[in-house]
């Protein structure tokens, strides 16, 4: 019991000592500011705020311009892509047309040749043909 009482007293004394120690520390902060730091602070701050606003405005305009440029670039790219597509389609169609025309010419030419041989064949009678073939020793 006495031992507990002694411990309690010692503990209280220690806490008291600690509190006194903390109280001894000056509550005034050990910091200073440069002489005249607060003088003209408002003016300095307003100048910085104005500068920041000008800079923010410039940044905003730049962003807007950059956005406009981006949109313009996108529009130009779109127009160019459409133009290329149209040119491509026309080229393919043109090529297709020229191929078709050539084919038609060939067909037409072929038709003419057939007609010529038909005409020649019609002109020759069978005997003349056999005679001609005999001359060529076709039947030997």
């Amino acid at each position: 019991m006495i031992k507990l009482l002694v411990i309690h007293c010692v503990k209280n004394a220690k806490i008291q000592e600690m509190e006194t120690e903390l109280e001894n520390v000056n509550r005034k902060l050990p910091f200073e500011t440069p002489d005249g730091y607060f003088d003209g602070f408002e003016e300095k701050m307003m100048n910085r705020i104005h500068a920041e606003e000008v800079s923010a405005e410039r940044h905003h305009v730049e962003q807007l311009n950059s956005h406009r440029h981006r949109v313009l670039r996108l529009a130009i790219s779109g127009v160019a892509a459409v133009a290329l597509l149209v040119i491509g389609i026309y080229t393919v169609i043109g090529y297709q047309n020229s191929v078709n025309a050539q084919a038609e010419q060939i067909i037409a030419a072929t038709s003419d040749e057939d007609a010529y041989y038909d005409e020649v064949n019609d002109a020759l009678d069978t005997e003349e043909i056999e005679e001609a073939l005999a001359q060529l020793n076709f039947y030997e």
């Binding site: 903390l22 050990p30 307003m46």
Partner: protein
Amino acid sequence: MDNEIEKLVPSLQNPKTRERAFSELMRLTKRALYWHIRKIVLVHEDADDVLQNTYIKVWRSIESFKGECQLYTWMYRIATNESLTFLAQQRARNVSAPLDYEDLMIQRMEADSYFDGDELQKRFQEAIMTLPEKQRMVFNMRYFDEMEYKEMSEITGTSEGALKASYHIAVEKIKKIITG
């Protein structure tokens, strides 16, 4: 002073009178905000940067200030957040440095020509530096500014009970360190 600050709110929200009102607001609050920030970041140059950033944030957001709390409390909250963000950025930059960030801050504080403390005060600041950032802030607001828990609660968004517990733990830690 609080009343004077609150009276400025309508002028601050009117574009025509904003600039003059803002200068007045700075005149009324610059010292208190500076010292609040300085206790968190310790070094004058850093405190100056953070204070300026705080006022820029206030200027940009003053239109949207809804008056849900006092203007002064709102500004204090911005200053607190700016200070903690600043410390987080500094800590992130210091990741690969050989010294702990807290040790580095102590070194910077001692080297700061605007530190004017005796040996006991230096030890005291070193002890405060061992506290986690938010606990340190609570300790500073309560110990140096003797701020009410209610006001601290509005600034930090933490309950009064939690703040009391945090302050108590902080005091115990500091006492332990100081008495060795």
